[in-house]
């Protein structure tokens, strides 16, 4: 009866998936890594997986944590959003990890959020994002819009004297929200609606002829024009190539991007980007001892002397150290206790400043604006004095200006200061 055999074996195998494999040795602390290793997002996320592996490796060399070794549990959500939720559940319920470092896109974070809140897990999210969120179970080590977008626009307004704005983005939640915030901000600075042009293109948009021609036209109205680009990953290369080919130089119409970093630059011909801008909280080119050490450590770990470092890597570096500090302070990896220990903790970032975890689960970050150089690095042209605290809820959006997040006093991620009600996660 082959069929029976088949079903039985299938059943037996299945058991392997549904039930935890041999429980982890008790003297290790499991650290989950939830980054896509295949599919469209693998480009960006594999690096972050390696970053955490490096941090774990280093920590174990230092003798581990609470006298235990750290053990990485790597899974591949394959750039598939539902799969993110599934893998998150696997890490929390089956592998019983103490903390998870992961996600890149907003949708992947939104997809795992309910899982983390249900199983009361702990996620460190390392990428700049649109804000409008603060979960008890997530620590946002990437930049909120007020730590990246707004300073960049300020720079263009003050230093470059830009009068006319193109907000060009990929059609998803991060650009939509960021552009809404920027639009409101620009108008509050007295920019006429006619001098703001907002446009969205689909993911992986590769034929930019029409759009760039339109930008060129918009920019030739006699006023200094700049493009604020929230274009996502793959669509960038063709965009800049088209700019270059249509003879739009950084002197004529500078483009400031929020998602083009060293990693992306290493993957493209920098010629058409020369002089264009990017706003980040970290540049590999920033010359501090901490950064130099980090870069050397990275090269040693990845065994490639030309691999770049980038902003989300620093975010993971900060996040990991914050977690370690919290665990040491709480003397346990229990999520509740760690979450209680986290707010207020400080750890040095790589650019000579201090990253402090705020009650809203965001951190303080410096802001740097750099111009792209031929070697794929950034030439810093502006830096914020001191660090900027991350703001979960933008003051420039009608929906969210009344909302604040505070996990210390209010114990709420979205407390409405007008209705005095806490909705969302801790809805009463």
């Amino acid at each position: 009866m082959k069929l029976k055999a088949f079903i039985l074996t299938a059943g037996v195998l299945a058991a392997g998936v549904f039930y935890s494999r041999a429980q982890a040795a008790p003297d290790t602390i499991k650290v989950g890594i939830l980054h896509s290793l295949s599919g469209t997002m693998a480009i960006s996320e594999t690096t972050l997986k390696d970053t955490i592996l490096m941090m774990i490796d280093a920590q174990n060399k230092k003798g581990g944590l609470l006298g235990k070794k750290l053990e990485a549990v790597v899974v591949d959500p394959a750039s598939n959003w539902p799969l993110f939720a599934e893998k998150a559940a696997q890490l929390l319920e089956k592998d019983k990890v103490s903390v998870v470092f992961g996600c890149w896109t907003s949708v992947s974070r939104k997809s795992v959020l309910p899982v983390f809140e249900k199983d009361n897990g702990l996620l460190f999210y390392p990428v700049q994002y649109e804000g409008e969120e603060s979960s008890k179970n997530v620590i946002y080590t990437g930049a909120a819009p007020n730590q990246q977008a707004i300073p960049a626009v300020d720079y263009l307004m003050k230093e470059v004297k830009v009068k006319r704005w193109v907000l060009e983005g990929t059609d998803y939640v991060y650009p939509r929200t960021t552009n809404k915030i920027l639009e409101a901000y620009l108008k509050s600075k007295g920019v006429a609606p006619a001098d703001i042009s907002i446009n969205y293109t689909p993911f992986g948009h590769s034929d930019w002829q029409t759009r760039v021609a339109a930008i060129k036209k918009f920019g030739s109205a006699g006023k200094k024009t700049a493009v604020v680009s929230t274009i996502n990953g793959d669509a960038n290369v063709p965009f800049y190539k088209e700019l270059g080919n249509q003879k739009i130089s950084a002197q004529d119409i500078p483009v400031v991007a929020f998602s083009v970093g060293e990693e992306e630059l290493s993957g493209l011909d920098t010629k058409p980007l020369l002089g264009h801008l990017a706003a980040w909280n970290y540049f590999q080119s920033i010359n501090t001892p901490a950064n130099k050490a980090f870069i050397d450590q990275w090269h040693a770990f990845i065994k490639k002397a030309n691999r770049t470092t980038n902003d989300p890597m620093e975010a993971h570096y900060i996040g990991f150290n914050l977690w370690v500090k919290a665990v040491e302070k709480a003397k346990t990896t229990d999520v509740e206790k760690v979450l209680a220990a986290l707010p207020g903790l400080e750890t040095p970032n790589l650019t000579g400043g201090i990253a402090k975890l705020l009650p809203n689960h965001h951190i303080t970050k410096p802001v740097y604006i750099g111009e792209v150089k031929a070697n794929g690095q950034f030439n810093t042209v502006w830096k914020s004095n001191g660090t900027v605290p991350g703001d979960a809820w933008s003051d420039f959006l009608p929906g969210s200006k009344d909302i604040e997040a505070d996990w210390v006093k209010l114990k709420c991620g979205n407390y409405n200061t007008v209705t005095k009600k806490c909705s969302g996660q801790n809805y009463k």
């Binding site: 290793l37 295949s38 599919g39 469209t40 693998a42 480009i43 594999t46 690096t47 230093e159 470059v160 004297k161 059609d171 446009n199 969205y200 293109t201 689909p202 992986g204 948009h205 590769s206 034929d207 002829q209 029409t210 759009r211 021609a213 339109a214 036209k217 030739s220 109205a221 006699g222 793959d234 290369v237 063709p238 190539k241 088209e242 270059g244 080919n245 249509q246 003879k247 950084a250 002197q251 500078p254 990693e263 992306e264 290493s266 993957g267 493209l268 011909d269 920098t270 010629k271 058409p272 002089g275 801008l277 111009e371 150089k373 031929a374 070697n375 030439n379 042209v381």
Partner: protein, 544 residues
């Protein structure tokens, strides 16, 4: 005599007759230079102006160096130097006064004078004054254009003088425009009318904007421009210019459509052969293109000093790489699946997954940087309103060449004859002693090779990464089906049509809706012509 004095000043600036200029005041020059150390970007700009006014022979070299991020001072003695390259460690130093070699200095022992876009812009204009005398016409042209960006009295003077000695018509024309624009600011009514008359044939946006200014009303509702005659003339001129510009932008849109179309055709031709002629639903087609793109990257990394040439080398290389991969696929998998096209869909899909992961393992998941050679970047300027980007232009031409080549191979050569024979009646062909096995392999290899060649073109347009293939596979299928399976002409016309329609819609509908519309149109079209634009009778057509 003022003109003459100015001329000497100019010549002095140009550093042509240092003798005429008063002996260079080095100390003053260095003094101004050292102000740069802790100046903000705006101050740096004014300092640069001052430097240029000193008329010191080194001004040009120093400012150029500053513009190119090569101006620095030694931390130890605060002494200024020019470095030969903007990067590297140590720097090879040059003395800013004597312009002689001044030894080396490790990178961390010096501080660079930072610049930003704005500052570099200013520097460019200043340096432009020097380029005016360059023997190279294009450089002079650029120089004039740069100077037009910021017109002030001295610049104007220099331009006027240049105008007298300039011989090249293009440069002269540019200067003419510049002077005319300047005249508009003047008061002499006739001169201004003349200027407008000269400008109305110029379709550049800047000119249009300047003229349009004359038509604007002030806050009190009255025209800023009091002179009616001038205003009317300007009005006519603006209308004239706008007319031309809209005409040219229509032409531009059409070209956009053609170039998008040719990309679609290029990615479809290979499939038209493997899918159309052989009836193999090759889901790995996209990955074969990806291989072509990676081949381009590989070629460039072995010949980094001949980027321009590399593309030309990459084309045959990519053809071979993808072609051989195709032959391998055919021999090991597909030949067992003839007459079962849907099975080929599954198997080739499996292959595509493997190929993707392979390049990920070899080249990592990161995109690879394929450099655009000089001759493919920039655009062919037809006039101030219309410019056609070279890479697109070349791709249109390239597509047509490839297409013609395939057609020739299929129609004129022996193997082409065999291919058509086998595709129409395999058993008969066999009976006539054609080695169908061999022909199948060759056909599939050909189609795959073309895919590789298309990959080379794509490497110039978009990311070279593991996902390159998936981005294009669907479009290529659409094109082939739209055109009619097994009909190359169908693919050509179908692809072009889809491209043009898409681009005509995009300005109004936006990229997404345009694409959706094209897809729906395709679905409806297939209802009316269930076998595509050019239905083909034969094996592929009968396949289920």
């Amino acid at each position: 005599m003022g003109g003459h004095r100015l001329l000497t000043l100019v010549l002095a600036l140009l550093g042509l007759f240092p003798a005429l200029a008063q002996a260079p005041d080095n100390s003053n020059f260095l003094a101004i230079l050292s102000e740069l150390k802790e100046a903000g970007y705006d101050d740096k700009a004014t300092i640069a102006e001052k430097l240029s006014k000193t008329g010191h022979p080194s001004v040009r070299s120093v400012l150029t160096a500053m513009m190119e991020d090569r101006l620095l001072f030694r931390n130890s003695d605060q002494k200024f130097f020019i470095s030969k390259k903007d990067d590297g460690d140590p720097f090879d130093l040059i003395d800013p006064i004597t312009l002689k070699d001044a030894g080396q200095a490790p990178a961390d022992s010096v501080t660079k004078i930072g610049t930003n876009n704005g500052l570099r812009g200013t520097l460019k204009t200043i340096v432009a004054h020097f380029s005016l005398s360059s023997p190279d016409v294009s450089v002079r042209l650029e120089a004039v254009k740069d100077m037009l960006k910021s017109m002030d009295e001295p610049t104007l003077a220099i331009l006027r003088d240049r105008d007298n000695v300039e011989t090249d018509p293009r440069v002269k024309k540019e200067i003419g425009v510049g002077l005319a624009l300047a005249t508009l600011d003047g008061t002499d009514s006739n001169a201004r009318l003349a200027a407008i008359d000269l400008l109305k044939s110029n379709v550049s946006q800047d000119v249009r904007n300047r003229l349009a200014l004359l038509l604007e009303k002030g806050a009190d509702g009255s025209y800023n421009e009091k002179d009616d005659k001038v205003r009317k003339a300007a009005d006519i001129a603006v209308q004239n210019i706008d007319q031309w510009r809209s005409y040219y932008s229509a032409v531009e849109t059409l070209f956009f459509g053609l170039s998008l179309g040719s990309v679609l055709v290029l990615i479809a031709i290979g499939l038209a052969i493997t899918f159309g002629v052989m009836g193999v639903i090759n889901m790995a087609h996209g990955e074969l293109m990806m291989l072509g793109a990676y081949t381009t990257y590989a070629v460039q990394s072995v010949m980094p000093d001949h980027i321009g040439l590399s593309i030309l080398v990459a084309i045959p290389a990519a053809f071979i790489v993808s072609g051989l991969t195709g032959v391998l696929m055919e021999r090991t998998i597909i030949r067992f699946l003839y007459g079962r096209p849907l099975e080929t869909l599954l198997a080739t899909f499996g292959v595509s997954l493997v190929l993707q992961q392979t390049v990920r393992s070899i080249f990592s998941a990161l995109n690879r940087s394929v450099i655009t050679p000089e001759w493919m970047s920039g655009s062919l300027k037809i006039n101030d309103a219309l410019a056609i980007t070279y890479n697109r232009l070349y791709i249109v031409i390239f597509t047509l060449m490839v297409f013609a080549l395939i057609l020739a191979v299929l129609k004129r050569t022996r193997i082409g004859l065999d291919i058509r024979a086998v595709s129409q009646n395999r058993s008969m062909a066999k009976a006539m002693g054609i080695r169908t096995e061999w022909v199948d392999a060759a056909t599939f290899g050909l189609g795959s090779g073309i895919a590789g060649v298309a990959g080379v073109a794509l490497s110039q347009l978009t990311n070279v990464g593991p996902n390159l293939g998936q981005a294009y596979i669907i479009d290529s299928f659409m094109v082939v089906v739209f055109g009619g399976v097994g009909n190359l002409w169908g693919s050509l016309i179908g692809g072009m049509a889809m491209g043009i329609v898409n681009k005509l819609l995009e300005p109004f509908a936006g990229a997404v809706l345009a694409k959706i519309f094209v897809l729906i149109a395709l679905i409806l079209f297939i209802q009316t012509r269930p076998r595509g634009l050019f239905p083909q009778t034969g094996r592929a057509a009968e396949d289920k």
